[in-house]
């Protein structure tokens, strides 16, 4: 009755279904039966191709994380000025989240809370944080700044930035009507200008290239 499809196609369908169901129900409340049903396949196939529930979840996590990283990397031009790099990175980031809201929810809301996956996710997050920290440090060196230069400070600062971005991404994921570009602008002002300057009416604007 149903067509027999090659393995890669089925795996794609299963991962799509899994992301959707995990996103809607959460890791534990999601059942393998429902995932199989949404994927339009029977349960043993899921086990045959993607392994246990944990392995399946990890596969989702890795796929979405990889896509996200690639999207951001593709947006950034490493030769640009620091604020341009940041701007392009943020644009790519929020555009991705806006386009893959399910994926985002799986990645962050679910993975963080399950102690078993927290490690995996923390690793990915740590890589991002380190990239941001390096970017900060580079910008600082370039500006010959007198800012307190203990490595831990850059790291903690980067943590705060990443957290702020995640929070806005969550807001974006829950508000269909919000424009990713607009969210990126908010974030940019937030990061680059600071509240004091904002209150004095200074804002950051994208410059025509």
């Amino acid at each position: 009755m149903l067509k027999r499809l090659p393995r890669v196609v089925r795996e794609r369908q299963m991962l799509d279904a899994a992301v959707q169901v995990f996103s809607r129900r959460g890791f534990h409340a999601a059942s393998m039966d429902e995932i199989a049903e949404v994927a339009g396949i029977s349960k043993p196939m899921v086990y045959a191709y993607l392994g246990t529930k944990e392995e399946l979840f990890l596969a989702c996590l890795r796929r979405e994380a990889t896509r996200l990283m690639e999207a951001v990397a593709a947006g950034v031009r490493p030769t640009a000025r620091p604020d341009e790099q940041l701007w392009n990175g943020l644009r790519a980031f929020f555009a991705f989240v806006g386009a893959h809201r399910d994926g985002w929810r799986v990645l962050y809301r679910q993975a963080r809370s399950e102690p078993h996956f927290a490690g995996e996710l923390a690793g990915m997050r740590a890589r991002i944080v380190e990239v941001v920290a390096a970017l900060l440090e580079g910008a600082c060196a370039q500006a010959e700044a007198a800012m307190p230069a203990r490595p831990d400070d850059f790291l903690a600062m980067a943590y705060a930035y990443v957290g702020a971005a995640e929070s806005l991404a969550d807001w974006l994921a829950d508000h269909e009507e919000e424009d990713p570009e607009h969210t990126a602008t908010r974030m940019m002002n937030f990061v680059w200008v600071g509240a004091d300057a904002l209150l004095q009416g200074r804002v950051w604007r994208a410059q025509a290239e």
Copy 2:
């Protein structure tokens, strides 16, 4: 053998145990049996006093959230300048998180991912965000600033701040050695000064009163 204790005492013990276990295992992986065991009581007592697992979790959530709110409210003096209010609020906030790391983990990591509790938590979060937004708006009005004054902007800005604070709080919860006061300073600089100014060596400092 074991002493018979009045209801309020037992409830306190149960909630303490529940927060600890939920924090360590996550909502689903936590079993009522383990919570009962940690509380030093048998399972039916938990059901008799605090109800089902969901109700128990909600009770934890509400208790911890209330404590957090009260701690912050107690730290803030409403007559102070906006940046002082912010500073005092942040100090109280990070001090609380540092002192109740388990509670923090229950509150945020767990509650956010379970769709069933996300609503409850989103409500609390929204209240905090609104307070922050109002604070921003007040500061803006006081400074007679020319900043874009659409109400949504304040709200989104507040979301970003809250997200950044949460992220630093997470970092704090996982790093025993980190000093809450220090974290608060990081956050303050982050919010008030902004990256651009930071890179020029400007920092925010607490002033002697």
